[in-house]
Amino acid sequence: MNAKKEHKPVDRRKFIQNGMRLTLGASLVGVTGLASLKLSANDYVWQLDPFKCVYCGRCADYCVLTPSAVKCVHAYDLCGYCDLCGGYLKPDANALSTAAENQLCPTAAIKRKFVEDPYFEYEIEEDLCIGCAKCVEGCSSFGNGSLHLQVRHDLCVNCNECSIARVCPADAFERVPVSSPYKIKGDFQAENNNPDPA
């Protein structure tokens, strides 16, 4: 028995057609792969873990945006509403007042509102906040740590490689699913079922 196959000569037209089909198929697979990669990349956004944050100040300086997309947010359910707020007042403040020289925030982005003696509410004015974490350190050192930083996704441009994450000394930046883009302290998120801290 002769097992040898008979080789048919391939004409030039057929060869070009096959080549075209193969190239087209490969291109389509490639484009589909790239598109799906891009889609899955968009399913994740950058966020920082407030429990890892060491208040180094780099969030203010290293974001591609000016001012930074990282802002201070306030977990009201953790706050003590203190008159002697360590996040609002300078440690050596000469009075417990809203006078500029007593404020810790370099841009006066925290608003202090009287509630009832001796309680005050502290609200972040995001347009002024530069994400320097000075108040976060004051609040965490002396208070309950209710002030903390978060990447605000209405501002963040979701760079492929976050320039803050690259220099974060605490490795606090991570990719999180777009369905739960914030890492808010306290029960704020759970209670309100609202992923946006605004």
Binding site: Y55, C56, G57, R58, A60, D61, Y62, C79, G80, Y81, C82, D83, L84, C85, G86, P91, D92, L104, P106, P118, Y119, C132, A133, K134, E137, G138, S141, F142, G143, N144, R166, V167, C168, P169, D171
Partner: protein, 324 residues
């Protein structure tokens, strides 16, 4: 030819420049590299304590083999430490005398002839063998018991959640609530922003309670009315700073106060009128990021600290005169 050489030189210089910029960026900005923080919250200046102000020296350290220490008390030569879900009884040499397993993690302790434990919102009493003697009704979900003080007739329960001190008979019967805001009786009310709300009894049996949100210590008479108070608010060593200090407090002989602070962690002594006397343990004797240690005293005037971060019982004795 000359032009090509010039172009080559320019290209090499450019390449070198780019390489230097990349290398500099890599070295200066890499993660973990310590660089100056222009927004630093710097309280290091206030953490410095002059050597003249330090009145005590560390005598002994007892290492605890526990995950999470919670509180400490001293009674007749024995240390009582609550940690994890256990009550440890140990002598001052660090020898474990007895360990009692508890059904939950306690939050406060006081000792007389019995061991009184705060279990978040409930008071439980054990004898020294670890057997349960009393279990009171709980004070509700909002309650967070942070401190207990016991006199011959009463148990005082500090509830940070409800911002009250309960004066109870030893069977749990509530005699009165102390510290409720009452403008007519000039009681300002306790301001307790976080679960740091300590109480102690003076030598005469009067209640002293920390009002942490006001940097005050308040004294109440037998009827629960405000008797006196003192306040010391300053970031400097002689005062209390932040939102809730002193975090812990105890009373030693001659009704002097031993206070422990968070934020700038330090342990200090004030006389019976609230006048600053000096420092037991300075900030540099604790971890860089530390919790305020719980405090108690022995009959010889030694100050005993429960260091939550190092998981140690640290015993400080008064410095001898002339021994700086």
């Amino acid at each position: 030819m000359k032009f090509r050489k010039l172009v080559n030189i320019v290209l090499v210089v450019l390449a070198l420049g780019i390489a230097i910029i990349i290398a500099r960026d890599f070295v200066m900005n890499r993660a973990g590299k310590v660089i100056e923080n222009p927004y630093a919250f710097d309280v290091s200046e206030y953490a410095k304590v002059s050597a003249d102000e330090i009145l005590y020296e560390e005598e002994k350290v007892l290492q605890l083999r526990v995950a999470e220490p919670k509180g400490i008390a001293f009674h007749q030569g024995t240390l009582f430490v609550i940690a994890d879900s256990s009550l440890l009884q140990m002598n001052l040499q660090g020898q474990l005398l007895k360990e009692t397993k508890l059904e939950a993690s306690p939050t406060a302790i006081a000792v007389d002839d019995l061991v009184w434990l705060g279990m978040k919102n409930q008071v439980v009493c054990l004898n020294f063998d670890g057997q349960e003697v009393e279990r009171w009704e709980n004070y509700g979900d909002r309650s967070v018991i942070t401190s207990l003080a016991v006199s011959p007739d009463f148990v005082f329960v500090a509830d940070a959640g409800n911002r009250l001190v309960y004066q109870c008979k030893k069977n749990g019967e509530l005699v009165r609530q102390i510290g409720e805001k009452d403008e007519q009786k000039a009681v300002p009310g306790f301001v307790v922003p976080s679960p740091y709300f300590d109480i102690a009894l003076s030598e005469e049996g009067y209640l002293w309670a920390v009002n942490p949100g006001r940097h005050s210590l308040e004294n109440f008479n037998a009827e629960g009315a405000l008797r006196t108070s003192w306040t010391s608010s300053s970031v400097k060593t002689e005062g209390f700073s932040g939102c809730c200090n002193p975090a812990h407090m105890t009373i030693m002989r001659e009704n002097a106060f031993v206070t422990s602070e968070k934020g700038i962690v330090r342990v200090k002594i004030y006389d019976q009128h609230g006048k600053y006397q000096g420092v037991v343990a300075a900030p540099n004797q604790f971890e860089e990021v530390a919790h305020a240690p719980d405090v108690c005293v022995d009959e010889n005037g030694r100050v005993i600290l429960l260091d939550f971060d190092r998981k140690q019982v640290r015993i400080f004795k008064p410095k001898e005169r002339g021994n700086s």
